[in-house]
Assembly symmetry: C2
Homo-oligomer: 398 residues x 2
């Protein structure tokens, strides 16, 4: 029997300190912050596949791939430090240097994450002032400092007993626009005091990303700065968790839940969104096809606009399914909107449009597709397409 | 030296008659029409790749692939007759039957095209009345009857001397939403009185579609009913054009121009659009990569919203390029917006945001990308993402 976990209000796990300040990168909100572990922590990461990978993302990736260890993370919003060439790389090194000096650690233990406008250099004088002002406190303001057009913080904190020790897992993220991770300006972090072997941490993250963060979309645009990092500093004092450890299934389930819920928070708070759309596809020949169909549906502008309008226009769902390369018989496809069957055997089923429309008014819409071609399932999450999405993105940089 | 062509106001070529009526499939506009050739015409087509291919599209495809000949086309808007199963197929046969009887021809010479809502059966009593009311006149009302959310007809008429004979090429199309052809509820037709061999006609169409209709996008959704058809009835009396004929280059150029211009009209009149976006990509390793990048850029919601807001936010263009799988060095990429260089060598170039924003106000925006990785070029066309797109699509069926 697996030990269970408990959700609790957001705190940092043992051995972590944090702070955030307003370094005037933007008009009024917190914009620079850090997270510091008292000891070097096992680190794992997944990163954007965008060929214009931002300097902070690229450098943090190199660090983790080399030593699988980080002790501090410095972050900023407002500027993504992407498409900034040599200068961008130098600026990241400078950030690492400032943080390392303050903490009396080596610069290669300092990860860097940036989010914001692409193609502007970081204002380094402001960054320096900001970093110098950071303290090692227990506040959780960092979860606010990384937000851009997000309307709320995205956090989840779980505790569980692992190897007889109480461990805390604290996840936080930012999302909003340019969200279509393949591993968005999407940043996600889960830090824990649990002791977990670095390769085990990386294996879990790589596996779980495919069915969590990589299954959300706000607008189909894959950012230059996407990154999800896990840190595990082992301060809880448990025996190190490896993939062979008896508590491994529990730890993996914990991360699955954390990554899924953070991903859903990002989808729900997509730019301009009024609701979360959860698509479940059953009966696919492969899991990959199930996930591809689910992601195609939440990615369709027409489906997203229909959901905003509470319009049970299932033709758009069917059309999206048909545009995928998945293997199935169009005459066997079934579609349910919030448990109302609208298509069976690939053909219309009579239903009350009024009742269906009413049900779409809720804050979470469930689309359920069965393509009856196999035994595999997949899920994806997205949001509706609204006037506010257009408004936000027609007036972002100027 | 190639003969030139002349553009003229829209008429039907010799040997064609047409008509359209209001069959009350929708509230007030023309919704059923036909086009009839006095003799069987060579026919070529390209069709949606959506797995839920609509009945009219599937059946017309079968007809053309079998006999490469059509004499009449019957069309309707309001209902797509897609996802309508057996009944949908029967209804198409019935339409063919009614038209064939009226014209005293065989049903397999009657092509059928439908566009509109997916998943509703055709109201056959109304269709019958509509078809029975059609006359063989010279009016061009058919170009209106196929429109759905289109704001204007899309037509182009060219004349040229082919083999010593005056030939007329009359192209018309409908587009608007669910436009991301891979071969959208996109319908395109070019009919001519020129005599052209059927295989030559099909070869030209298949080749040209890849760089014309397949390079436009309104919303990234590939419809169930997309179809582009060419008819050539030979009534002009010229010697049959084959791929070896000396006039073949001229004829191919004519079709290239017609298909490109119809495709651009569809992109410009995308649902809610205020402007046409033309993206040119140079310096790609292959033509396919150039076309893929161009189409990804016009397909990005963030780019489209920025264009609506006259926001020279080139970071979104760069990010979209980077998210493709094309082969290039990010440090060699250059981007121009209406001839204003905004990125060179993958990095920001100082420019007047005010001047750039001002230039984006024009009705056609030119995005020019050079990835400096090879000698191939590609183009794609799209439109901006506006409040009206959301409005139209949040309230379509209900």
């Amino acid at each position: 029997m697996m030990t269970e976990w408990e959700e609790q209000s957001f705190i940092w796990p043992k051995g972590y300190t944090s702070d955030a300040v307003h370094a005037k990168l933007r008009y009024s909100k917190l914009d620079v912050g850090w997270l510091v572990s008292e000891v070097p922590a096992a680190a794992a990461g997944v990163y954007t596949t965008n060929q214009f990978c931002a300097a902070p993302t690229a450098i943090t990736k190199q660090l983790i791939q080399k030593k699988h260890t980080l002790q501090a993370l410095v972050m900023n919003s407002a500027f993504a430090n992407a498409c900034t060439g040599e200068q961008g790389v130098k600026d990241v090194s400078q950030e690492q240097q400032w943080v390392a000096e303050k903490l009396a650690i080596t610069p290669d233990l300092v990860g860097v994450a940036s989010t914001g406008l692409i193609g502007s250099y970081l204002p380094m004088a402001k960054m320096e002032k900001g970093i110098q002002a950071l303290k090692q406190t227990s506040n959780t303001l960092l979860t606010e400092a990384i937000l851009t057009t997000d309307t709320k913080t995205k956090t989840l904190c779980l505790t569980a007993t692992i190897g007889g020790k109480q461990c805390t897992f604290s996840g936080f993220a930012k999302g909003s626009g340019m969200i279509h991770p393949n591993m968005a300006t999407m940043l996600g972090f889960v830090v824990t005091d649990c002791q977990i072997a670095p390769d085990c941490l990386q294996t879990m993250l790589s596996t779980l990303t495919d069915e969590t963060f990589n299954q959300i979309t706000v607008d189909g645009d894959t950012s230059t700065n996407d990154m999800v990092l896990l840190l595990a500093n082992g301060v809880a004092g448990n025996q190190e968790v490896t993939t062979e450890h008896e508590d491994y299934p529990l730890v993996k389930n914990l991360y699955h839940l954390l990554l899924t819920e953070l991903a859903k928070m990002i989808a729900r708070d997509g730019e301009g969104a009024t609701k979360l759309i959860e698509v479940t596809v059953d009966g696919a020949k492969t899991k990959k096809e199930a996930q591809a169909i689910a992601k195609a549906i939440v990615g369709s502008n027409l489906v997203k606009a229909a959901m905003f309008g509470n319009d049970p226009n299932w033709g758009r769902i069917i059309s999206t399914i048909g545009a995928t390369s998945a293997t199935f018989d169009p005459n066997k496809v079934a579609v349910q909107l919030n448990e109302i069957t609208v298509v069976a055997d690939g053909q219309p089923v009579a239903f009350s449009e009024q009742a269906a429309s009413k049900s779409l008014e809720q804050e979470i819409v469930f689309v359920h597709v069965d393509i009856n071609a196999g035994a595999h399932s997949g899920k994806a999450w997205g949001c509706d397409l609204t006037y506010d999405y257009v408004k936000i993105n027609a007036t972002y940089s100027t």
